[in-house]
Amino acid sequence: MYENLINALPAVLSLGNLLAVVIGVIAGICVGALPGLSATMAISVLIPFTFGMDPLVALGMMAGIYNGAMYGGSIPAVLLRIPGTPAAVATSFDGYPMAQQGRGGYALQVAVVSSSLGGIASALVLMLLAPPLAKVTLLFGPSEIFWVAVFGMSAIVFLLGGDVIKGLISAAFGVFISLIGIDTITGYDRYTFGHLELLDGINIVVLLVGLYALPPAVALLEEVRDLDTANTGRLNTTSIWQAIPGMLKYWKTWIRSSVIGVFVGILPGAGGSMAAFLSYNEARRASKNPQDWGKGEPEGVAASETSNNADTAAALIPALTLGIPGTAVAAVMLGGLLIHGLQPGPMLFRDNPDIVFGFMWQFLFAAILLIALGGALATNSFAQVLRLPRPLLGAIILALIFIGVYSINGRMFDVYLMMGFGLIGYFMDKLKFPLPPVVLGLILGGFAEQNLRLALRIGGGDWSILASSVASKIIIAMILIVVFMPLISRGIRRLKARPDAG
């Protein structure tokens, strides 16, 4: 197999294919940076174009777009508190405070380096470990996936912010929203009020744009005075190569987040945003100063950005080997492959090794290119956007939001829905209800419930099925350890301190 890898390399290095990757990365960064436009949409739009193209050119562009978009989303997340893609929500937790403190440029540099490293890790894993990891995918049935979702939900504790009641209301609201739509197990529709468009549930991009993008756009228009944009506008950047040595202390976070990202990528149904949340949470738990997180801790940006790029290539592991895409984007990419007559499965590797392994190389190059293209692109171009007068910026963002939401499904209903969420988000901001629990509730609530009920259906109503397999037991143990460890260690510390005090 490794010789196949090497044999595929020359084709990838040809001018046309390399150019495709470069264009893909640039396009991906731009698309990711525009709130409302997501990688899924960009690749869906690309697919018809690729009909006549050489497969590697098409795949190269897709790989580039995917990686680029996962980084691009962090740019407005840091600069405007508007995540460009759902996966960048966790980046805004620490990225935006950093920008407010005048360290926006550094935040973006951390983001680009982390994204690149995450993407590289993902591509390497795809190239070298695809077959064994595909088996790991299969180990995860509904009950195991349920426990992983529960694990993710435990992140809510950290995201509640200062006010527990309001935080819990946000979380419950998010979970409730995730339940709107048709119940796939019984066929009943929940709270759709007769609207066909709600049957598939509320799309996370619609919710995210409404909650996260519309209120800041309104704020840009609302603010009376020309706020001191000097801080956020001036990015204060040194060359990225000089900045990297300062980031090396985040290596543990990089490794941990890459692992989490890859793992979430290979699980079908879980995507970039879940990876980012989980890894942010874990990094915070493991850090020495968790109370600084949320106020401008660069490691938070590193954690989030690494894992949302780490799940890109990993999502293709089960996709290429088993035809089971790990994320929505991977699903669209599979469709793109199908159009070229490349059906997933073991025969894909046998009959078209150059294309498959070439694709993997392209992921690697796209990730590496991120530093070169993303660093310069972000700090120079997008930062200029902030120099625009705020009312103009607000008006432009309104138009962009419209485009992004309308383009998801090509209908106005989503736009109206987004406006409704925008109103809710505006008031939530003003009334100090935290927004992250809503997003977490939306991503994980319905997902967890569905898997729980599937597991119960398989077990015939017997709840013990949830703990029956080895994988389930391991995850449950991890949850217990991770949740109770702080309490235990605090208890132990108190015990140790008592003899001194007494």
Binding site: V45, P48, I165, K166, L168, I169, A172, F173, V175, F176, L179, D183, I185, T186, Y188, R190, Y191, V218, L221, E222, E223, V224, R225, D226, L227, L388, P389, R390, P391, L392, G394, A395, I396, L398, A399, F402, I403, Y406, S407, G410, M412, V415, Y416, M419, G422, L423, F427, K430, L431, K432, F433, G445, E449, R453
Partner: protein, 224 residues
Amino acid sequence: MTGLLLTPENRIAIKLASAGWAPSPCPQTGKAMKSKPTNTMTDQPRIPDTQPSPSIEDATSNPGSQTMSTAPAKRSRRFDPDLIAGTVVTLGAGALLLRTSAMPPMTALLPVTMLLVLMVLGALLIIRCLVRLKRDNGVHEPLQVFTNIRRFLGIAAAIVVYVACVANLGFYTSTAVMIPIVAWCFGYRNVRGLLLADVIFTGSIAIIFVLLMGQELPTEFFLR
């Protein structure tokens, strides 16, 4: 977008601010005549905003009115934002709860749980707010939600009108018109800058979406 008319007062303001960005909000004299008498914010058109930002915890005013006078504590008790939020949450969750009747038990389990949780939390919020108000006895200043309600309503109206126009008149027309108008109304007065930005933005979107992507945005009314 009512109230944003070119009244004589506006024209003077425009002349004065013709050099570029005007720090003052869009003259709201038109709207002032239509606004509700009591609880709305009074506008501060000519006084430059001395506060660093429209801060939420404004120590000198409370949500009932933005005047500098101290409002009676009774009003703040009734309109404390937390109180309203708690009420909205509880009532909203309750209303939705009434709709779960038609579903089979397993389907309804999680929604009902979440709604009950919301109702309980909403009630807790109300209780906590009341307790705090009683304890502080009017000394505690609740959150100020709206620094300038007229401006917010203007923005909200602008957004609604814009979306309606896009749906009925087409995307490019509405956007080409919206960007200069909205930017103008909310502070940016440089006409040349406006037009330039408008053309660049609408033009690039048109190029990208129509030529390159073939992705459709709501079609113009003259093309239907």
